[in-house]
């Protein structure tokens, strides 16, 4: 009895010791990353992955992609950037790290992070539509050849006054004076696939359309812009969604239609006092030239 008790205590001590060592290690390193905002701390850059529609728009608009003398192109995003492969993961990174900076679609922005003014303009749907906010892009749907039947009717709906009204709630409508929907509401089933940035607004468009056309079945698959275009070309979906302009190779098979505008918001942690950056400063941070926050804080 005494032996097993002693053994138990010894075993327990062993466990607590190992755990303790672990906790101390974590605690020590913790002091480096967490805590309040300090301007002399390094900027932690968070980027999306190569190939993401949001990334390619971002690096294009901020001139982070540069032409090489040989006629190629080079993405100068710093290799030190943390790579988040989804919008949600990007927001969690920014929310969890006081000194981080990242970028997301304006339509996905919420109050867990802080959006910055760019060249003095706060990102907002109105600023994008008027062309004042410099960082914006278009969303597209694409079909293989000219759309027919339910596919055509649904795209007509998206571009109608009713559809653009839905678009305007999350993103930015193309046209405030679009004609009202006058489709013939055919039945059937279509599959829509592609960009995770376009998917949220497409879900809302589907709901609004199905309220008008109860015999339509619409299935939406969230993948990404390139997969969406590939599926549309291969015929595994009827409509592909893209958050970037179509590539030339894709335009050989697909007919695109612009359905909405979106801004890209530059976001930082809420503890960060910075409110505004210039385009040049954003570029300098994301290429790794500006390494510390005090270089851009006034």
């Amino acid at each position: 009895m005494a032996r097993s008790l002693a053994g138990f205590i010894r075993g327990l001590t062993l466990g607590v010791l190992t755990g303790g060592v672990l906790a101390v290690t974590v605690g020590l390193t913790g002091c480096i990353a967490a805590g309040p905002f300090e301007a002399q701390k390094p900027v932690s850059v968070v980027s999306r992955e190569d190939g993401s529609g949001t990334r390619s728009t971002f690096v294009d608009l901020f001139d982070i992609v540069e032409k090489t003398p040989e006629g190629g192109k080079k993405d100068r995003t710093t290799k030190e950037a943390v790579i988040a492969n989804q919008t949600g993961i990007m927001m969690t990174h920014i929310d969890g790290n006081t000194h981080s900076i990242g970028y997301i679609s304006l339509g996905s922005l919420n109050d867990t992070v802080k959006a910055l003014e760019i060249d003095g303009i706060m990102p907002s749907p109105a600023a994008v539509k008027e062309g004042n906010y410099p960082v914006s892009r278009s969303f597209y749907v694409a079909t293989k050849g000219d759309p027919t039947g339910l596919t055509k009717d649904f795209i007509d709906f998206i571009l109608s006054a009713e559809g653009q009204d839905v678009v305007g709630k999350g993103y930015i409508a193309l046209d405030d004076s679009a004609p009202a929907y006058t489709g013939d509401r055919p039945g059937g089933r279509i599959v829509i696939a592609g960009s995770s940035s376009v998917t949220p607004v497409m879900e809302k468009l589907k709901e609004a359309y199905q309220a008008l056309n109860t015999s339509a079945v619409i299935e939406i698959q969230m993948t990404d812009s390139s997969s969406g275009m590939t599926s549309a070309i291969e015929g595994t979906c009827d409509i592909g969604m893209s958050s970037r302009a179509l590539k030339e190779s894709e335009l050989e098979d697909l007919k695109p239609a612009k359905i909405a505008l979106d801004g890209i918001a530059i976001i930082v942690n809420k503890k960060n006092p910075i409110t505004s950056l210039t385009q040049a400063q954003v570029k300098s941070i994301f290429t790794g030239e500006t390494k510390r926050w005090d270089a851009v804080l006034l």
Binding site: S44, I83, S226
Partner: protein
């Protein structure tokens, strides 16, 4: 009577066929995966050049011309796995010793289901835990990924090491006591060495799990495609490289990712081979 015997013989035959088919399914799956991987991955190795691919330090699939070098990812997988071993193996083995030789029955009934539960938690949940708890403390780094993976491989190591400790005949332990060794001396000097091959198997399976883990690692490791300079910097593993970019990849990029899968497959193959070689030598 004769009819019954014939029926029995037929039944035996049919059942043998059923079992054999079942056994062939897994072999067939392995064979198909091999064929797919090598048929799709090897041609691109020729195009990129095997040394450029394996030893290249830059990965820039979006550039023109594209650059595919996976040395940062190979090192990334190795670093993170080594870190997981440093964290997970000592804790795992000590826990197994505790469970097999020290733990009172009442406590065992509490700890054992806890460990089983740990094994059943989906890796994306580990990832969320890592993002919310470990990353704010350790940053998106090799350290964070190692800590998380170290915990994730615990159930594998504990379960196997415990059963191999339990398989050591009780007479070994009693013999050690009879020669005057104390409880802990007997456990660590006699039982642990006797269970060596089982414990090694546990560690190797743990390595396999760590090197193949994807989702949880992506969420905490930072995923930078460059060679890290310290354990506090982020890192991208081979598995993360495939998952992050597969959705977007086309043509050469896609083939390069499949070739990344080939490298990963060869890694696992090497681990398994060295394991069986070690085991054969010990037997």
């Amino acid at each position: 009577m004769g009819c019954g015997a014939a029926m029995n013989a037929l039944r035996e035959k049919v059942m043998r066929g059923v079992f054999m088919t079942a056994a062939l399914v897994s072999i067939l799956a392995v064979a198909l995966i091999c064929v797919f991987l090598f048929a799709n991955g090897l041609p691109v190795l020729g195009k990129i050049g095997i040394f450029n691919f394996l030893l290249g330090q830059e990965w820039s699939p979006a550039d023109d011309p594209q650059v595919f070098g996976i040395l940062p990812m190979i090192l990334g997988s190795l670093y993170v796995t080594a870190g997981a071993i440093v964290v997970g193996v000592p804790i795992g083995i000590l826990t197994a010793v505790f469970l097999a030789r020290v733990c009172p029955a009442k406590m065992y009934a509490m700890i054992k289901p806890g460990i089983d539960l740990l094994a059943g938690i989906p890796s994306v949940v580990y990832g969320f835990f890592g993002m919310a708890v470990i990353v704010p403390l350790a940053g998106n780094s090799i350290l964070a990924a190692s800590l998380l993976l170290g915990v994730m491989i615990l159930p594998t190591i504990i379960t196997l090491a415990e059963s191999s400790l339990r398989a050591v005949p009780q007479s070994y332990y009693e013999g050690a006591l009879a020669l005057g060794a104390g409880h802990y001396r007997s456990v660590f000097r006699i039982l642990l060495p006797a269970a060596k091959s089982g414990i090694l198997a546990a560690v190797i399976l743990g390595i396999g799990r760590a090197i193949g883990e994807t989702m949880a690692v992506i969420m905490v490791a930072g995923n930078q495609a460059r060679i890290p300079g310290s354990p506090f910097q982020g890192v991208r593993t081979l598995t993360a490289n495939i998952v992050i970019e597969m959705g977007y990849a086309a043509e050469m990029h896609r083939e390069a990712l499949i070739a990344t899968g080939v490298v990963l497959f060869v890694f696992i193959l090497l681990i398994n081979l060295s394991f069986s070689a070690l085991k054969r030598r010990m037997d």
